[in-house]
């Protein structure tokens, strides 16, 4: 058994991380802390997951959200998608393995991956609405959020959702509030099979190695860890039986990265744009300084009077 995180003490504790540990802050510059905190990670072992949705339930309860009661649309996903009130979602895929002709029911817990290079944070225009702590947690700060939805476009995993109630963005916080007092995420706490475990990123990678070895021994030759380098690695990782085909797990991106369009928008466009506008303004100013105003002369007025003279009667 992976050692579970012990129950909390009832004595109030100082948060283990906070403002001083910010590595990145949206639309602002911060000085990263001299000493980075140990990176944490949540490991989701898809091969151990039984799709019980206890994680969803725990997430709803801990975060006190109120997802809508939907209807059945012929699928097991409920709610049908991530919502501002549902930060994590079991996604079910019925996949017939062409190599074995066996059906595999792939169940992936979807939610924020807590990227090392978070696209949401890059895209966010509101200072401090998205922050990244030095332990790797990417969190949304709702009082700073303006609800523009840029994070949605920035995210390579299609995770953030904008609330129609308070118009701010929501996603998994990795239970930063629990982790700040030495607890693991609520979903990991609730997971009955330890398909979700939490610890330092190093521990999780090591634990994953054992899991991958077990899966390989059971004939899953392509088993592996999903920790995509395209976003600098993530602080939520998956153990997949078919790590060579992440897309079969309800469209888990193969080799995700922040979209080049977003990179262009938040990179060159931002600076080139300011430059273009600045140049336009400065050019005008200089032109005026050099040439002075373009004035109508007396001759012009007279010429006009002459022209209109025969009309004046």
């Amino acid at each position: 058994m992976f050692p579970p995180v012990l129950n909390p003490t009832t004595v109030p504790q100082e948060p283990k991380f906070g403002e001083r540990d910010l590595m990145r802050r949206s639309a602002s510059t911060v000085t990263p802390p001299a000493q980075r905190q140990t990176e944490v990670a949540k490991l989701i072992d898809v091969s151990k997951c039984i799709g019980c949705k206890a994680c969803q339930s725990a997430c709803i309860e801990w975060n006190d959200t109120h997802p809508q009661l939907e209807s059945n649309t012929g699928i097991y996903e409920n709610p049908h998608d991530l919502t501002p009130d549902m930060f994590t979602l079991m996604r079910f895929t019925e996949w017939e393995n062409p190599d074995t002709n066996n059906l595999e029911w792939l169940i992936r817990k979807d939610g924020c991956m807590h990227c090392e290079d978070p696209g949401c944070l890059k895209a966010c225009p509101a200072p401090g609405a998205i922050v990244q702590y030095s332990n790797g947690i990417v969190d949304f700060v709702h009082e700073n959020c303006i609800g523009c939805g840029y994070c949605v476009k920035g995210c390579p995993f299609n995770i953030p959702r904008i609330s129609e109630v308070d118009h701010t963005a929501y996603k998994c916080t990795l239970c930063s509030d629990r982790i700040a007092v030495g607890q693991g995420p609520a979903c990991a706490k609730a997971c009955p099979t330890q398909a979700i475990v939490f610890g330092t990123k190093e521990e999780m990678k090591k634990h994953a190695e054992g899991r991958v070895a077990d899966l390989k021994s059971r004939g899953f030759d392509s088993a592996g860890l999903y920790d995509p380098p395209g976003v600098g690695g993530t602080h939520v990782m998956y153990v997949l039986h078919h790590a060579d085909k992440p897309e079969i797990y309800a469209g888990l991106p193969n080799n995700p990265a922040i979209s080049p369009i977003v990179e262009a928008w938040k990179g060159v466009t931002k600076y080139a744009g300011l430059a273009v506008m600045g140049v336009a303004a400065v050019t005008g100013f200089l032109h005026y300084m050099v040439n002075g105003p373009n004035r109508v002369s007396e001759e012009d007025e007279e010429a006009a009077q002459r022209l209109t003279g025969d009309r004046s009667s």
Binding site: S47, C52, K53, H66, E70, T73, I75, Y76, N78, L106
Partner: protein, 812 residues
């Protein structure tokens, strides 16, 4: 469970059949995950549907519902034919060598002694040949053609892989793969665990489904060992407790039985409960029956139960029929013979079969009292909810009284889980509104009734007036008081039977365990098997010590496991005839030359010599039974019977329909669809989903959100055939009722080819009704037949016939 949840981590092979542990027991399933992750254990799932359990299985094999016995006897046949038998175990610890009476035979699906009119057997030939010494005759060489082993061999011979494929629809290669993996566990160093639940019990031959696997486990030598066992996953948090304390119409606590009307006095009652050993030296522990029974009577009636009045034997109700199970009770209501109903923590409108019949039955009552934390459908059976409960309230005169009770998290007490662990719990919240504990409600009823009887007398007031009620607050006994009463007290000083100078319990003290029980009225115990749960050491159920020496999975200091804190039943069988562990890495208890000792409380007298005394101490044989004599109503061996509603004739016994010994009420036979019905061509089954617990959690919004609406599951092939779309509406109907549901069209259900013909499976989850936070829906019981298991009357919910068609949607 013979073993415990935590013990499953010790297994090498998990077979989930007749259950869906990952789905219905996700928390317990963690131990399967542990076994897989740490021991490299394999998981096999055999189910009509590719379930959530199957999603993490190493091997999945489909099976047609209601054909498990054919499959399991097929595996037994495979093991016998391929010599995959743990011979030392089978020879020493089972009744394989016992010689069976000559008159016993099995032919064309029937055992000797069948009476078609009574749908019952004369079981007199289903027994051993008893020798002149009064003991059963045995043939240790297993050569006598009449020995159990040879009869079994002959009995299972018909279940070849080909026959299994024809009956079950399991492709032969898949079946053989399963059989081979199971057969490997005949090695003394390999253990298989069987995890099953209502997928086996809810059949007209449910008990025999379990028997079949138990027999297989005995042949493999897997009973009594770590990582083995027959592990029933109980469907409610305290359903184990319910059976343990005998909340069945024919039981008394601790699996004592209620007398029948012919047993007019205590001696007659005891005459059939002597349990004389059938082999020399055997413990036949039920010989102590009288001690358990008298102590129970003392717990009930205290000082009023005396040797002179046969310990108040006359105050016990006497049965005129085998039992007043829920099906019979509803039948009696329908007939107008039962007119009042106290319904405590039960929702029969959705839980009992043939909902129409249930509504009719409840409508004929004079009064219905419900005690429940939730607003159940049963309490609202009279209320019109459109098509979801299409009744006319003006035509129902039943007076319904709802008594709101606390839920488990709001009161104190113990719950007994599948592992037989009595776990104490404390209130985590304050009950809302007028909700009161069940203890309070029951005590208040009792106190008032007692007062009425005192004042007015009546036909037979004695049992109620004399009921021992020595609680601090007569109006609300505390959980602790009740627990102590269940544990039992010494009413006079109790001395050790072997050493009369040694005091086992001073008068007035709590008993250490059931070994101290006496049949002279000097002890009391409300439930003998629970004795030891709350003794002078304190409340053992409240223990929360997670220490586990050598990580055997026993966790002996966590809560209290009945009996006597034993974690694995029959654990003596974990060691060979000489008392050495079959597998040293699985050591549980061993004989050290003088006594039994090890990690668990020995399931044998501590000084009983291994070569003398058999490990199955409850049985008069001292060994386990591959042949059950007359203890089962429907045969000493399991045999394949089709469900009462089946798409197929019984291929091994074409003339037999259903389980020939199952009780069918008059009028209910007509309500079964005929075999291979054209009108009802599809094989339906019902089951739970992990998002919900029964009909409870739909009252909780979070659970309702996670699975909001009733649906049925069908294959892509059936959907295409019927023009049903994913998420579209369908109507499903049987000969008894009709429901409407959303359709989940899935690859997880595939048509089964049985005897050359495709059988389409329609999966119908339960969980929805017309009260609560989820969307209104139906339960499968609107469709299911009114018939139960031949032995214990568990309704046949898992196999019945329906038809299905796409519809536009319900008329809102």
């Amino acid at each position: 469970m013979t073993n415990s949840w935590t013990d499953i981590k010790n297994t090498d092979l998990v077979i989930i059949m007749g259950g869906n542990a990952a789905e219905a027991h996700p928390c317990g399933f963690k131990w399967v995950t542990e076994a897989k992750a740490n021991r490299g254990a394999k998981l096999i799932v055999v189910d009509p549907r590719f379930t959530r359990s199957a999603s993490v299985a190493d091997l999945y094999a489909p099976i047609r519902q209601g054909t498990d016995i054919a499959f399991l006897l097929g595996v037994i046949n495979h093991c016998i034919r391929n010599d995959k038998v743990q011979w030392d175990y089978v020879k020493a610890f089972t009744n394989a060598s016992y010689i069976v009476k000559d008159g016993f035979a099995y032919k064309d699906g029937l055992f000797t002694g069948y009476n078609e009119a009574k749908r019952d057997y004369d079981k007199s030939t289903w027994d051993y040949v008893i020798g002149p010494d009064g003991y059963a005759t045995v043939d240790d060489t297993l050569t006598n053609p009449r020995c159990v082993w040879n009869l079994l061999k002959e009995h299972v011979a018909v279940y070849t892989p080909e026959m299994v494929e024809r009956i079950c629809g399991t492709p032969k290669d898949k079946f053989l793969k399963v059989a081979e993996m199971i057969a490997e566990c005949s090695s003394p160093t390999k253990a298989m665990t069987s995890m099953y639940a209502l997928g086996w019990t809810q059949h007209s031959k449910g008990s025999q489904n379990i028997r079949a696997m138990a027999m297989l486990q005995l042949i493999l030598g897997n009973i009594g060992i770590r990582g083995g066992g027959m592990n029933a996953l109980r469907g409610h948090s305290n359903i184990q407790g319910l059976t343990d304390v005998g909340l069945m119409s024919n039981l008394l606590p601790g699996y004592l039985t209620l007398p029948n009307e012919k047993e007019i006095d205590l001696e007659t009652y005891m005459s059939t409960r002597g349990f004389k050993p059938l082999r020399p030296n055997q413990m036949s522990y039920w010989q102590n029956y009288r001690k358990f029974f008298v102590s129970f009577q003392k717990a009930m009636w205290g000082a009023a139960a005396t040797p002179e009045n046969q310990f108040a034997y006359d105050w016990l109700p006497k049965l005129d029929v085998p039992g007043y199970d829920i099906l019979r009770a509803l039948e009696l209501m329908t007939q107008g013979k039962m007119t009042g109903y106290l319904c405590q923590g039960f929702n029969p409108l959705l839980a009992a079969p043939n909902r129409k019949k249930v509504t009719d039955a409840l409508s004929k009552l004079k009064y219905l009292v419900t005690m429940d934390p939730l607003d159940t459908e049963t309490a609202r059976f009279w209320e019109n909810h459109g098509e979801f409960n299409d009744v006319d309230p003006s035509q129902i005169q039943t007076e319904v009284i709802q008594l709101p009770s606390t839920c488990f998290a709001e009161d104190e007490g113990s719950l007994t889980n599948s592992s037989r662990w009595l776990q104490w719990h404390w209130p985590g919240g304050t009950p809302p509104g007028e909700a009161r504990t069940d203890n309070w409600i029951m005590a208040q009823i009792h106190v008032r009734l007692k007062e009425l009887y005192r004042k007015e007398g009546g036909a037979f007031p004695d049992p109620i007036i004399n009921l021992d009620w020595a609680y601090a607050d007569a109006g609300e006994p505390t959980a602790e008081e009740l627990a102590k009463e269940i544990n039992g007290k010494a009413l006079a000083t109790v001395y050790d039977a072997a050493d009369p100078t040694k005091v086992l319990a001073e008068a007035g003290k709590l008993l250490p365990g059931f070994a101290a029980l006496r049949d002279d009225g000097s002890t009391s115990s409300g439930c003998w098997i629970y004795s030891g749960c709350f003794n002078e050491n304190g409340n053992n159920m409240a223990r929360r010590d997670t220490s586990d020496p050598d990580e055997t999975g026993a966790y002996a200091k966590w809560a209290f496991s009945w009996p006597v804190n034993r974690r694995i039943l029959y654990n003596r069988a974990s060691a060979d005839v000489n008392g050495k562990a079959w597998d040293p890495s699985r050591k549980l208890i061993e004989w050290d030359g003088a006594k039994w000792a090890g990690y668990d409380v020995p399931d044998i007298a501590p000084t009983a010599k291994p070569t003398d005394v058999g490990p199955f101490i409850m049985n008069p044989e001292g060994v386990s039974r591959l042949f059950t004599r007359g203890l089962m109503r429907d045969g000493p061996f399991p045999a394949h019977y089709e469900p009462f509603e089946s798409p197929l004739d019984n291929l091994v016994a074409p003339k037999v329909r259903g389980n020939p010994a199952a009780r069918v009420f008059k009028g209910d036979f007509e309500q079964f669809a005929e075999t291979a019905s054209k009108e009802f061509p599809y094989a339906a089954t019902s089951y739970r989903l992990t998002e919900h617990f029964h009909y409870w959690t739909k009252h909780c919004r979070t659970n309702a959100v996670l699975q909001p609406e009733f649906f049925v599951e069908i294959s892509e092939e059936l959907a295409a055939e019927k023009g049903i779309t994913k998420g579209g509406w369908v109507r499903v109907w049987s000969k008894r009722g009709s429901i409407q549901a959303k359709a989940v069209v899935t690859k997880r259900i595939k048509p089964l080819i049985c005897d050359g013909k495709p059988v389409h499976v329609v999966g119908i989850p339960l969980h929805w009704g017309f009260t609560g936070a989820a969307r209104k829906g139906f339960g499968p019981n609107s469709l299911t037949p009114f018939v139960g298991d031949a032995n214990i009357e568990t309704p046949e919910y898992k196999a019945f016939l329906v038809n299905i068609e796409p519809i536009a949607g319900p008329v809102a």
